[in-house]
């Protein structure tokens, strides 16, 4: 009865979270949809949650800690999703494609999360020492592993550093999504994945054949 066990665990976990804590987290999530984390005050969070400011400090070390808890939640969700998504897929490129799709999809679905992760937290000097960052790195490592796997399979070129490829892939995704989020544009994971994969896999250069064609 693993399913039952899981259910129980989940129920217990949810039940055991004190209502105040839940309200606070929900409150910040809501507020983040409207404004920057930096522009949100603890007073606001508390009021919006219907609790006192002091309660925030019962459950969280910090205002920042609260944010990180939320981020972790999202990150956890995302990791579960990704792990699930990659199952049963064969071939580096297919996996990569799926990963990219999932990545974009998360940002598209969860703009609050994206905004905070891609913009806000980077400003905190110690973000790179945070647990949140650790989780991000874990994900980042998955990508790296995938690429290295591809290199070993000879699917992926070995004359470009895998890390650099990873930077390129992740950087591209971020840039695309960030622009979409910042300007409130729709983000279409299917289309973007398609085009980005073309870009990542084959580059922007017209294949020789075509060039040949055009030269004629």
């Amino acid at each position: 009865m693993p399913a039952a066990a899981e259910n129980t665990a989940k129920t217990l976990k949810q039940k055991s979270l004190p209502p105040g804590r839940v309200k606070i987290v929900a409150s910040l999530k809501t507020l983040l949809e409207e404004k920057d984390f930096g522009a949100i005050t603890t007073a606001e969070i508390a009021k919006n949650a219907g609790v006192t400011e002091a309660l925030i400090y019962k459950y969280f070390k910090d205002k920042r800690d609260l944010l990180h808890q939320i981020l972790s939640e999202y990150l956890e969700q995302y990791r579960a999703q990704i792990t699930h998504d990659l199952r049963g897929i064969n071939g580096v490129f297919n996996k990569l494609r799926k990963l990219i799709w999932s990545h974009i999809n998360v940002y598209a679905t969860n703009r609050v999360f994206a905004k905070v992760l891609l913009i806000e937290v980077r400003n905190y000097p110690d973000y790179y020492k945070s647990e949140t960052y650790e989780r991000v790195k874990e994900y980042s490592d998955i990508v790296l592993k995938l690429i290295e796997e591809g290199v070993q399979n000879k699917d992926i070129r070995d004359d470009i550093s895998p890390k650099l490829m990873r930077y390129g892939i992740l950087g591209s995704i971020e840039q695309v999504c960030l622009t979409g989020i910042t300007f409130g544009r729709k983000i279409d994971p299917d289309d973007l994945t398609e085009q980005l994969c073309e870009f990542f896999f084959n580059g922007i250069m017209n294949p020789p054949s075509k060039i040949a064609d055009s030269e004629l």
Copy 2:
């Protein structure tokens, strides 16, 4: 001797910037090397510059305005550089390569500028309405034009949106440089340009020939 006259004028003009203003700008530049803009107080800036806080507000609308002035200075420099760099280069890919090199080189040379531009300012809600952002967009447009030119020449594929290619290119560069800057690693423009161009131009997929080889 009109050239000389102009030079003199320029020199005079530069001299005519009030010493206080110059000191303030220099002061912030220095401080930015040590800490985040958000963590720098006007008091600090003034003290470090050897002037009073009030003087900051004589020359700049805002603390933020001061930052933007500095950014603009850098941006101007950079644009001049880029324009100069691209002269006399033929072929879209050569131009693109040079552009990428210059771009990376600026970040590598000017980490303060990079940090502020890539992290700090994005947190300001109205950054995207600022003049600084306008300048960034101008640069961004240069890249787009270059790509579109390439598409028309049939050098560059027409089955990927030029804007998306631009996002990919710029996003990759940012990601690479940002990591370097954040962790204080050396940034080697030559090497990075080489690898990134390979990545951008031909993609990560092993060329068919090689695949063919490996498949045999």
Copy 3:
């Protein structure tokens, strides 16, 4: 014992005003006796109250809001007094006389209040939109009603606009009290009321009989 209960409630309610708030109000009241509101700093108020500046902003929106709260308190007191004072008095002129006496008496007794109300607040551009002003107007309306009542009874002339009479009465009282307050002179409600009423009721002109006398 509902009355007792109410008393207790009231007492409790008064007690339940946070000590900090009470101290702040008291502090400003004291300071107003020494200097202009504009010359009083929040730092001073807080220090004098033995609390931190921040606490002021917990209980009051503004430095100005704090002032208005105090004014309201006085105004409330005054209104209660007036209402009480007018009870059981017959005849417009008797009522008016009593009103004038009470009015002067308040100013005489409460110079801080008078100074602030008659001088300070008028300088705030939005005083006339404030709740304080509303209360003042309420009082002012009582006077007007009284006059109109007198006009209907034929006690008071109908060839002078009631509003103008009110302006005259209130303006005279203010002028008299203000001078007294400004120069720290004693204000004698009994004497002033006597004379002012003579002035208001019969005017400055010598009665015809006397004139007749003098003309002879």
Copy 4:
């Protein structure tokens, strides 16, 4: 050639006032029409005048001094006017009526002056030591003298203190005008004078005859 002499004097006087000074005074006058003196900054005055802030301090001791200069100008004008107006009028009441009319008329014509004189300056603790106040007192004394004259003629009652009558008259006028000015209402000197004089001279009480009528 008295006219010519006057002209010359005027011309000389105007010519001899340095243009900068003139501009500054004009600037503040203009600004006072829009906002409170307290809300006007020296920077604003200077900019509006097309001069530098420093120049203000060449001609005026103070920002306040500048205001007082302007006030004095007005006051001077007014005194000349009044003196002129009272000439050739016989009888205390006629003189008083004319005085009242002139007084109201000045406020009606010159709202800026009125606002500043009746509201702004009173907030300055040392207003009562200022030269401006001296001039105001001079005018106030004219009124007092007039009343005392009337008392001696037996035109005016001797059972009300002349000073109190003066307070009443001036206070009433102020109150009426101030309300008009504050709420931007039209001020009609003719009508107001008529009614106020009725009020001052005969009081609000219905004359016995009328009362008799109504009692029948």
